[in-house]
Amino acid sequence: MNAMILIALIVGGTALLSWPLGRYMKWAMDPDVSQGLAAKCEQLFRFIGGRFVGEQQNPKQYLVSMLVFNVIMFVVSFGVMALQQHLPLNPDGQTAVEGSLIFNTAASFTCNTNLQHYSGESTFSYFTQLCALMWLQFVSAATGIAALTAMARALAGRKNMGNFVLDLQRGVFLVLLPLAIMVATLMVLGGMPMTLAGAAHATTLEGIEQTIARGPVAAFLTIKQLGTNGGGFFGPNCTHPFENPTFWTNALAMISIILIPMACVWMFGRIIGRMRHAAIVFGVMLAFLLVKSAGAVWFEQAPTQAFAGLPIEQNVGNLEGKELRFGAPEGSGPLWSVLTTSTSNGSVGAMHDSLNPLTGLTPMIGMWLNATFGGVGVGMINMFIYIVLAVFVAGMMVGRTPEYLSRRIEAREVKLAVIALFAHAFFILGGTAIFAATPWGQDTLNNTGAHGFSEMLYEFSSASANNGSGFEGLGDNTVPWNVATGIVMLLARFIPIILPLAIAGSLAAKNTTARSSGTLGVEDGTFGVMLVATIVFIGALTFFPVAALGPIAEHLQFMK
């Protein structure tokens, strides 16, 4: 019961907050620069951007700018990590890092994934954490918001997508930074450390020397949540007491996880000028989120199998891997696991490896579908791919050449959409297949059988969904894992941005068709149902066999 109230408060409250934020983001990202404050900001950004702020860009130019900037992000962060032992702000004397791990981490933070095959507090210096990783957490998130803004502009029928360098600055300085400062202040008040001093050394009552890692945690944590990054300052991520001290920081963190992804839908609706359509899309996403949350909480009511047959009374569900200080342990952990995987956040508030099998399935579903609000900006872009396919099939069923926002969906659009969707499935199933059949995967497992399978499946799902959370229980800091997931993360980041933007550009170039009662509406409940059905069918038909081999098999084993 407490759990359901928690879901209602967190999800419902954030949904309410997302409405004004969406309005603000439209103002910030796609401003009318003719006058007022927007014009001043514009001047400032043009000044900062210098000659990199060019004119309006067509889809191709926009994408090239974006990719060039992302290459710079990758190279700079790679360099900082590789040279951290020679760089300042290293009070704890962190040493050189192995090459494949640097590649994996640079890829992971560049593409907003934040899959971590390391523990931050014992691997990276403060300089690396702040100037490589935290910087990437801002700009990679802003890249996503910029991409969505550009796509929405094209769908609104504008021939140009805007200017990437301008959009990037708008995303960082007008959206992410102000929000991060506000939330980080609250987090510090909630007891989170924010210091550049090195680890504290203490002597316990038993006389044992203890080293307590700390650092600029509040700043790092806030943007990690707001930007659906998810990379923790500490290895245990948001289960670490310094990264998530209390019930209140826990609640605020959960709100931060879904706030911008939710607002992105409204921003999209405002730019394309079809708020009713945005409301339907929002409703579909919200329905998925609520069903997954309720499911996860429900499945987690069952006691852990570790205690099966032992004389232990279990009346609060599975407590393995949960932090009791957050309150409502049966709700907070599963809810967080759903929120963090629905969006492509990837921070964790409980041990996913310890969840009951079917509860563990819900985060995987979140990453397979990858469009329940999703990552900042890119979640809505992913949803657009599903919308294109739903519109195509539904459009045929009403007896017309399918059209979306008055533009026809034809062979080219269908082709690009299915390639984007196929890539995601290919990375997850293909990657898992290779690692399941070889020592690359088999030798890194902590568990055998179905649970071990889930560990590998989860890792590739997380990489391909640009999520970054880990099921854990996997010895993943090996060269094969680092390289494979690094490549998957990069491809799975840019393919689903490039192709949908290409679709939007192709649609923008088409003539509009007039709307009539014979046109498929994208603003009514029927379309919402169609969209849900499309997502469920594509997801289920692709992933049902692996779900059966992993979590479902494990669950059924316990049922026996």
Binding site: L389, F392, V393, A394, M396, M397, V398, G399, R400, T401, P402, S406, E410, A411, V414, K415, V418, I419, L421, F422, A425, F426, L429, G430, T432, A433, A436, A437, Q442, G449, A450, F453, T512, T513, A514, S516, S517, G518, T519, L520, G521, D524, T526, F527, V529, M530, A533, F537, L541, T542, P545, V546, A548, L549, I552, A553, L556, Q557, M559, K560
Partner: protein, 685 residues
């Protein structure tokens, strides 16, 4: 001959189709359809497997037989659809038999085979001759029997100049003599194109079909990924999934149902048009018809019956209605125009006044002339009857006439005249002597049921625009009565073209009908231009459809067929994918039954077998058999098209989602279970 729909499984079609479907197994043809090509490869692999695999040979053989059936059924569906077209082509071809032409060169006539005619040659055709090639009448007038292409036995008039100058090769002159200039070389004529079209020989994929093929190929790739990766997953879990079983799973999952029926749906769309005597020049045109949202309809013949008819008799003050009727009838007895006859009929209906035989010398009829703009009858005084002079005509002409006679034109009659004109009618004033008797109201009579039809079109999201040469006032009244959404008064071919362009600029797709040469630019500009077969060669060339019955009302049916075509594709795609749920629940438990099993017990995933099927082999076979049989079961639906109702897009989507989406999830659960029971009962597994 009318183009009757052949019954779905006419032996004359099914026989040749059976043979053709074997010929279609040629991999070079199959590769055009990626879904069925994958199925073919699967069938070949399992056949090889049946001979080489160590155990369970019978099961694999059984499996491979059904995979071959799946492929063959798909070819059969296409062959049946083509066969139906061929049956119609055969009748057309009879008309194309070798003829001799009487070619004119330097004023002399020479006999040459029709095949040697060149474009620009002139030929003579007299009664009894078959017109050797498509062309234009340049001299003379003749009645022509066009039954060969229209199925209509009544001859039509073809004459030089004007809008009825086109003749079609293969039709027969039955009276008089015409000289025809050949406009099409043999082999490219109208009849040839019709035959090619109905046979599907030159069928190219339409844009929507191409997009759908891409989606289906992608889904095939998805399922290929799913099944191929199962092999290493099995190895991880310590089981070897055999190739035939994985092939069976793959074939069940890929959208074979829609893949098999896709081309049959396209062919049958054209076929359904032909059954309504409409020839499309491409499948693309049929598809475009489904997208049309503006119809330009000619008023005359489409919306109204074509002629103005007397609908009311309004007497002047102090005149008995019967007296007016009597006078009006007498004045119209000799008037053979449809308007005149309608007055006689109206008087008869209202007042039981019979058309009398009125003949000279008592009566002298005064015909209508452009100068007097009135007609009537004069009776000389006989048998005690006084002389009568009755005239009827347009109001302004009659006013002058009455003034000349020294009578007065009552103001209430003037008022009536204005009212009638305001309602889109034509007032005819009847005068006897110098006394105004009253007004006959002539009106365009709107066809029965047309208003409901337009309401349906509106539901479908289609706007109707009435096109007429009438003035705006008359047009507005008829438009209101017929319930069209908009009208174009005083239309000329030029402003018709203009209108189409502006509608298209606003994102509309426009369909229209036309027959005259001056309609040709508009027909070409319209997204769907239906030329009347009675029209000129230019019009027939410009449009992308030809209506052999020359019935403009048919435009609406054409739109419905276009919509039905796309809807059938969408519905069967949805059905095909929905079926996969049940197939997963049949095959995966069979595949995974022994996985993670402890000491010989059934593995945990055996619990997924919610259908409680007889055995793993029977589960897999049942799914494959269902997958094959559903193709055959749906051939009639593919050929007929799914039911179309004009209920608006959202309602149609709800309906189709329920029937083909939800129905598609449920049906195979029942079907597979039934097949499983039968297989078990027959001890086939």
């Amino acid at each position: 001959m009318t183009h009757q729909a052949p019954s779905l499984f006419d032996w004359n079609i099914v026989g040749p189709a059976t043979v053709a479907s074997f010929k279609k197994l040629d991999p070079r043809l199959m590769v055009r359809n990626p879904v069925m090509f994958v199925t073919l490869v699967g069938a070949v692999l399992t056949t090889v497997g049946a001979f080489t695999s160590p155990g369970e040979r019978g099961f694999v053989a059984h499996l491979s037989i059904w995979l071959w059936f799946t492929v063959w059924f798909a070819n059969f569906a296409e062959a049946v659809a083509e066969g139906r077209g061929k049956a119609q082509a055969a009748t057309l071809r009879q008309a194309r038999k070798e003829t001799m032409a009487r070619r004119l060169s330097d004023g002399r006539e020479e006999r040459v085979p029709a095949t040697e005619l060149q474009k620009g040659d002139t030929v003579v055709c007299e009664a009894g001759d078959i017109i050797p090639a498509d062309g234009e009448v340049i001299e003379g007038i003749a009645s022509v029997d066009e039954a060969a292409i229209t199925g209509e036995s009544a001859p039509v008039i073809r004459e030089s100049g004007g809008d009825r100058s086109a003749v079609t090769g293969g039709t027969r002159v039955i009276s008089d003599r015409i000289i025809v200039r050949v406009t099409m070389e043999k082999g490219h004529g109208f009849l040839d194109r019709m035959i090619a079209m109905v046979e599907g020989a030159k069928r190219q994929k339409t844009p929507n079909e191409i997009a759908l093929t891409i989606l289906l190929s992608a889904l095939t790739l998805f399922f290929l990924l799913v099944t191929v990766t199962l092999k290493p997953f099995g190895l991880y879990a310590g089981t070897v999934f055999t190739m035939p079983v994985l092939v069976a799973l793959l074939v069940c999952l890929i959208p074979t149902t829609i893949g098999a029926l896709l081309s049959a749906i396209g062919i049958s769309g054209i076929d359904r048009l032909i059954q309504r005597n409409v020839m499309a020049t491409s499948g693309r045109a049929v598809e475009a018809a489904g997208d049309v949202d503006v119809l330009l309809l000619d008023k005359t013949g489409t919306i109204t019956l074509g002629n103005r008819m007397a609908t009311a008799l309004i007497p002047a003050p102090g005149v008995a209605a019967e007296k007016l009727a009597d006078a009006a009838q007498l004045a119209s007895l000799a008037d053979e125009t449809p308007e005149g006859r309608s007055i006689v009929v109206l008087a008869k209906q209202r007042f039981q006044l019979r058309g009398r035989e009125v003949a000279a010398p008592h009566a002298r009829f005064v015909p209508f002339t452009a100068q007097t703009r009135m007609s009537g009858v004069d009776f000389s005084a006989t048998d005690g009857q006084p002389a009568r002079i009755i005239r009827k005509g347009a109001a302004d002409a009659m006013r002058v006439y009455v003034d000349q006679q020294g009578g007065t034109f009552p103001s209430s009659v003037s008022q009536t005249v204005d009212e009638i004109a305001g309602q889109g009618g034509t007032p005819l004033v009847v005068v006897e002597g110098k006394k105004v008797l009253g007004v006959v109201q002539l009106k365009d009579v709107v066809k029965g049921g047309i208003k409901e039809r337009f309401a349906q079109l509106r539901q479908m999201g289609i706007r109707t625009v009435m096109v007429t040469g009438d003035n705006a006032r008359t047009a507005a009244a008829i438009a209101a009565e017929a319930g069209v959404d908009d009208f174009m008064a005083e239309a000329t071919p030029e402003n018709k073209l203009q209108r189409i362009r502006s509608e298209q600029a606003n994102g509309h797709l426009v369909a229209m009908t036309g027959d005259g040469t001056n309609d040709a630019p508009a027909l070409a500009q319209a997204d769907v231009g239906v030329a009347m077969n009675t029209g000129t060669q230019a019009a027939r060339e410009a449009g992308n459809m030809v209506d052999l019955d020359s019935n403009p009302t048919k435009l609406m049916e054409v739109v419905e067929i276009g919509k039905q075509l796309i809807m059938t594709r969408g519905a069967l795609t949805t059905f095909s994918l929905s079926n996969d749920v049940a197939k997963y629940f049949a095959i995966l438990p069979a595949l995974f039954a022994t996985l993670y099993a402890v000491q010989g017990a059934r593995g945990p995933l055996a619990a997924l077998d919610i259908m409680r099927l007889h055995s793993p082999e029977s589960a897999i076979l049942s799914a494959v058999i269902f997958n094959a049989l559903i193709i055959v079961a749906l051939i009639p639906l593919a050929l007929r098209g799914i039911a179309y109702r004009p209920i608006g897009a959202a309602a149609i989507l709800r309906r189709n989602l329920l029937i083909y989406g939800l129905g598609g999830v449920i049906a195979p659960f029942i079907g597979i279970k039934l097949i499983d029971l039968i297989l078990a009962a027959l001890h086939l597994v």
